[in-house]
Amino acid sequence: MTPAPRGAVPPAATGAGYLRPFEVEVVSVRPDGAGERIWVSVPTSAGTAAPGQFVLVPPGPEQPRMFSDGWWLTGAEEHPVHGARWEVATPALGWRPGDRLEVIGPMGRAFPVPRESVTCLVVGYETGQAPARWCAAVLGERGHRVSLALVARDSDHHRDLATTRRLADRVLVVDGLAPPGGDPWLQALTRMVVDEAADVLYAAGPTTLCRQAAEVAAAQGRVSQVTMYEPGSGLGCGIGLCQGCLITVTGAQQVRPCVVGPVLPGAVVLTTDRQAGR
């Protein structure tokens, strides 16, 4: 038997089992602070989603762009009658039920949930509040003690705070912290980790914040899981091709957090000196 010539693409080469865009329908819309939250019905073949994962929304022909949009997933459920649905945190785009859009997902590695009962601190910054909230809810359901810290630069950039009280044992709302970086952040994060006596620190948001969260956790001897890729930040393809999110991790290996993450163990994203000192 001679092998098929290269260049003759069998239909199966891009068919089932491979990532590709599929159409979803918006079934409900809810305002969510600075943005919106939509539930969309998805084919059951799309698989289950977990906190920390995201969807990509490729640009349509009428709106050409160089990168897909990326939105955090904030909920997933499977109903015996209505099928599978995902909840997606989007910017305020004026969605209406019945709208249809194409998405690829669920993408990425989710926040891992500890097996033993522990105390967790979940920090979310602005759009990162969306996955943080879902992460806190899932941790709570599994019997962990959860503190949820929702952080934004000002009160206009928070997501919906009204429903968060139910999600965690303690909720901290922090604003006035400008886009992350610098000592005020380190101090605020350290104080939170110590005050909440957290065994595990989860952080979702800009990579600078998350790297600092990993540093704080390491300095306090705690475990951390942080997002090193921010969907929708406009600087990256989300599928590992553009190098926009490339970072170097322990062992000097380059990784693309949009593929192997977005959630990475904090221990692998520390700066060189701390890695060397370990």
Binding site: R6, Y18, P64, M66, G236
Partner: protein
């Protein structure tokens, strides 16, 4: 495959193709003529500064992307991880290498040659587009002949140029004299000194480069050699424009960021006509 055979019809562009597993989530890599690894470089020295976390992406608009060159993929990673990964899946790749310092180039090519998975390597793409490289035709000749010395003869040797070359035809002629088996012509356009622009906006530039080199080949100013166009190709129409202008292969860059499936579609759409053309050639 012989090095003087036609270059792969469709591949990702250098710096846009990931390392293999990323694209393999969207389709079977075996069905593609080749993937692209790189640009590769030597591994950073132990204790060196961590790679900057500044994004390679500077600005993106509807039709163009301004980017800085990202950190090179360490050649050790290519040899230890990605070539074995591709070979285990019966897939193949072009590896993009820098065409600047010949000691670095020799080290990289030596490591590739010693790799047990060399079978997955279709060609190396030597980047001669930097102004200091392309403005000196003798440098192009030296680099390409060094590449020929260091690699098995069945590995293709592609020389890559872009609009920065002050004498593209002269540089191309010397690269072919030095042993280039194909010329890669990139429409990516410099933005300042450290960045470049790519995307659908640069397709006319790529077409013009391919036409001008094809014309020079027809006039005997450059020895006959297949051309590969890269820059602005995102669909079949764009690819056909380049093939009609005289290219034998295309590379897809920024279009992959929103639609990696385009590689498989282009491969199946262009392959029939291409097979006829290659049979005639």
């Amino acid at each position: 495959m012989r090095a003087d055979a036609m270059p792969p019809l469709v591949t990702p562009a250098s710096g846009c193709g990931g390392t293999g597993p990323e694209l393999a989530r969207f389709g079977d890599p075996r069905a593609l003529p080749a993937l692209m690894l790189g640009p590769v470089g030597l591994p950073p020295a132990a204790g060196a500064e961590r790679v900057s976390t500044a994004s390679t992406v500077v600005e993106s608009t509807a039709a163009s992307l301004v980017y800085r060159h990202g950190p090179a993929l360490p050649v050790t990673e290519v040899c230890d991880q990605w070539l074995p990964w591709l070979r285990a899946r019966d897939a193949r790749a072009v590896v993009a290498v820098p065409g600047e310092a010949s000691a670095v180039l020799a080290d990289i090519l030596g490591r590739l040659r010693r790799s047990v998975d060399l079978g997955a390597l279709v060609a190396v793409e030597v980047d001669l587009s930097a102004p200091q490289a392309s403005s000196d035709p003798q440098h192009c000749l030296r680099v390409m002949s060094r590449t020929r010395e260091l690699l098995p003869r069945d590995v293709g040797r592609h020389a890559k140029f872009d609009t920065r070359s002050p004498d593209l035809i002269g540089a191309a002629r010397h690269a072919v004299a030095g042993g280039a088996t194909a010329l890669v012509l990139s429409g990516a356009t410099p933005v300042g000194t450290a960045a470049a622009m790519a995307g659908p906006a640069v397709l006319p530039i790529t077409v013009a480069l391919v036409s001008s080199v094809r014309e020079a080949i027809d006039q005997g100013r450059v020895p006959p050699v297949p051309l590969i166009g890269v820059g602005g190709v995102g669909d079949e129409a764009g690819a056909r424009r380049l093939l009609e202008a005289g290219a034998s292969g295309v590379q897809v860059g920024t279009a992959l960021f929103t639609d990696p499936g385009v590689l498989w579609r282009l491969t199946s759409d262009l392959a029939p006509a291409d097979r006829d053309r290659r049979d005639q050639g």
